[in-house]
Symmetry: C2
Subunit: 411 residues, 2 copies
């Protein structure tokens, strides 16, 4: 009898589905489609020459280390570099507190793996990062969703939830937050809310997983301290990544966590893949060690700021008055909310006909709402295409809106 | 209140412990210790120059692809190359049947993730690969163990187990086997047993996970077909890796599986890390595409064959007559069984005093037996050190044996 794979799948497989985004990215890979869908950095900014020299150097001087098995914790000089660099952002750590991961995505997987039993509740912003929801879905998480406003996660709602759940259960296992230029909304959490959130976490003994891929990509306003920088009790697990400040293709991120969490994370990392590839860690250390990344980030910021401005200008010209959208101070994304009756999954079909793509927002909502929302990326699209893409999208939306008003008239 | 991490850990974390081997490797990192413990390839064989040229080429010609996000399935030219190369080993597949993983370790994690509910039974050889047991432990597997002899897994026992469990449950979820030069024993499964095992799998509808990191490293005798090459129904999930034929530091392996399994594996790969790093896939494709790997494997085989012969010769000179050990026709390991009363975890403490290390065998036994067994690696130790290491180990064993006879005399 042939193997019946569907029957053999574990229960967790039911919650594991292909990523909306990755499926959309495949459809939109046709060159004539202007894709506002991905979350990709601009390849023009990749430090290719720096990496070319770094790989050359690593292979010439330490080739047999680079090609051999390495430590599960990660390449020590890179961990030491990160501890030093994070100090400048107010995060006090040593190499022992840092675990190298295959991008932040693996960090999310490891955190789910060690903390989540089936049915455990994760508190998430609504909307939140799709990849995090997918990572936690693997461990059959449930979600307690907290609304956002222009100051980010509504921390008053967090307090009510923690309090309710502590009394009536099931308790919140951890809080997942993206305080800076959140994916998907581009919103940032205010300083007062950051302080209060960290206080609440310590008060209730509920850890925070702080995902911070975009923290350095601020185009205006003053830097705000990360939750980890405000954390005096070790309740914050901080996730960083090189994906947006150097390049994502290496899959290189890191976790900063208290020793009590680090032990479990390391026991999760070993059976997952033994360790992260050595050569990309060593080459990245070579690229970083003399301060390159700081000047490079300045270049990225100037580049993306222009694209953000172009997108916001185009949105003001081409989007209907009853569409709301965010004005992010950093990061890669603008978030739009259309009139409630408009389903952005259906809109995407029209949009692709018109040769423009975006990500419908529903997948970012752990509570499955947000059918009228969309995520727009500006980092990976040249300015003229950004203008044209937003224009096409505006046309597609207007068409849907006028169909609706005709229907109304018809009634 | 501070976060109580121990209390927050998921139930699965109880079964997740640091690897014996990796902890031992840390202890034995002192240069004066001769380590027969690791499973490391010889760094002298790493194709460093080939990779130097390959990284240079990739960064010069396709840098912005190499540094960008890539497909979850893996770099397509590498998957196509693998499909072509596997054809020579009797495995018929196309790129669509191949998923690139971060070494075979990630493949084991993904398989556990999509197939194992808590309490599900995996049929394993006894002993089996420690890293596989650790991967499946994460998903709270139980084990049905099958003894081995010099022809490998006892397939008659497999049949009895499948039959019993199909009737009285819990059924076997899948069979995990390392048919070639098994880790830890160095044993290989005979052709007759391979054929019968694949028949049984198809008959009972129970998939086989075939882990084949050493299949090409045969030092004598004729190549035997892999289980996948004998599989006409798609019941075998085949795991391959570049770790032992090129280098392990890149963490680069692959899965060949039927579409019914591939869908689930891909849904497990995305939330795990989005995709395997692009540049190491692209550079490995460059190194491989013109046939380098075939000639390189010949070089590895000649090199390791010498080391195997040296180890077997040293064992015959220095190990006591009542110690049994395998004579592997390939791979990296010799397996030894000492008299039953001798606990190799205790012996290891003596051995480290004598500046030699090995891996105690108990951790490879899913049923926690094998306290008198040990795994000895010959691939990563130069011949003179192999001789000296085995001599030191023989002395440490003899000392334990004579303490025992003194105790006996004393009784």
């Amino acid at each position: 009898m042939p193997v019946d794979w569907q029957k053999l799948y574990a229960r967790r497989a039911e919650a594991m589905r292909a990523s909306d985004i990755r499926e959309i990215l495949k459809i939109t890979a046709q060159p004539e489609v202007i894709s506002l869908a991905g979350g990709l950095p601009a390849p023009e900014l990749f430090p290719i020459d720096e990496y070319r020299r770094a790989f050359e150097w690593v292979l010439e001087t330490e080739g047999s280390v680079a090609l051999q098995y390495g430590p599960s914790e990660g390449y020590r000089p890179l961990r030491e570099f990160l501890a030093r660099r994070l100090e400048a952002f107010g995060i006090h750590s040593s190499a022992e507190d840092i675990l190298i991961t295959n991008g932040s995505q693996q960090a999310l997987d490891l955190i789910g793996k060690i903390l989540l039993d089936p049915g455990d509740a994760v508190l998430v912003e609504n909307p939140s990062y799709l990849g995090a929801i997918q990572a936690f879905n693997q461990y059959q998480a449930r979600y307690a969703v907290v609304p956002m406003d222009d100051e980010g996660m509504r921390v008053d709602a967090v307090e009510r939830l923690l309090d309710d759940r502590a009394r009536t259960g099931p308790p919140i296992k951890f809080i997942y937050a993206i305080p800076n230029f959140q994916n998907p909304t581009g919103r940032s959490m205010s300083l007062v809310r950051r302080q209060r959130l960290v206080e609440l976490a310590a008060e209730y003994g509920v850890p925070i997983v702080e995902d911070d891929p975009y923290g350095e990509l601020r185009y205006e306003g003053a830097h705000l301290p990360s939750l980890k920088a405000l954390d005096s009790t070790g309740c914050v697990i901080y996730l960083g990544t090189f994906s947006k400040i150097l390049a994502p293709g290496f899959r290189l991120g890191w976790i900063v966590a208290a020793q009590g969490a680090m032990a479990g994370l390391l026991h999760g990392k070993q059976p997952a893949d033994l360790h992260t590839g050595m050569i990309q860690q060593m080459a990245t250390f070579e690229v970083c060690k003399n301060g390159f990344v700081d000047s490079h980030v300045e270049r990225i910021k100037a580049f993306y700021k222009e694209r953000r401005d172009v997108m916001l200008q185009a949105l003001s010209e081409h989007f209907p008055a009853d569409a709301a959208y965010t004005r992010p101070a950093g990061g890669l994304f603008v978030w739009a909310e259309l009139p409630r009756f408009l389903d952005t999954r259906e809109l995407l079909l029209d949009a692709i006909e018109d040769k423009v793509a975006f990500v419908p927002g529903q997948g970012f909502h752990a509570d499955n709402t947000g059918t009228n929302t969309m995520r727009l990326n500006f980092s990976n699209v040249p300015p003229d295409q950004l203008r044209e893409g937003v224009r096409r999208l505006g046309v597609a939306i207007q068409r849907r809106l006028s169909v609706r008003s005709e229907t109304r008239v018809g009634i």
